[in-house]
Amino acid sequence: MSHATTEKRTSYLGIFIILIVLTLIETLVSYVQNEAIKFPVLIGLSVIKAVLVLLYFMHLKFDSRIYTYLFVAGCVLAIPLILVMTIVMPRLAGH
């Protein structure tokens, strides 16, 4: 087995362990009663986990930038959708 292969496997294992530990921390934090602490911590941990999967397991860190742009384009396109659903539609419905 080449040095590069061993290094990559270690890196995947490392990311997997980080994901498991973060999930464990999330679960424990969910029992905290203080909403002001709980909310940002849980959102932050969730974003970190998603980005780790995107960068390492889906190889965005190593692949062509075009794939990153395509994924980000989906996220950007979702913003007007959220605005329409949360601002425009309730107003049209008379709320």
Binding site: T5, L13, F16, T27, V53, F57, A78
Partner: protein, 192 residues
Amino acid sequence: MSDTTATAPVPQEESTKLGMWVFLGGEVVFFVALITIFLLARLVNPDYNAQFRSHLSIPVIALNTFILVTSSYFMVRALEAIVHGDQKGMRNNLLGVIILGLLFLGGQAFEWTSLFAEGVSYTTVFGMPFFTLTGIHGTHVFIGVLWAIYILVGHRRIPYTQENHHGIENFGLYWHFVDIVWIVLFTLIYLI
């Protein structure tokens, strides 16, 4: 004089991977719409914790999350195995993905059955967005399991090799995306 770089064909494996990323970009918009509906239901009705969240079992769902995250690790190992020409390693890891995917679906079936037994139905204000969102995600997992089985069965006829492994790479992208969606749902539905 013609420009050779402009007319050079894009390799098929690159175009299918590009197509998969375009598809995943569309899936982001789709899931954001569903998540927004769920969050709006929470916003409109402040009794979310009392009416609905108290019925959800965090330990069961945390276990399900561990299962899906672990399946993602098996997936990345399956791809790495075939990239290095290790067909047996690819098969074993893909089998792991299938088993863990089925376990996840079993966990979800258990959760839904428990909710139905407690009187939480599809017609309630939280039930509708919850069952729609988790149901569509579960359908994605189910399709992923079928896809993985198709790869394993098809592999007997036309084996994937070190040079021809892009079908597995594209499936891996799909499976990891389904994992990311669950990471977000786990936080927004169950933990917050």
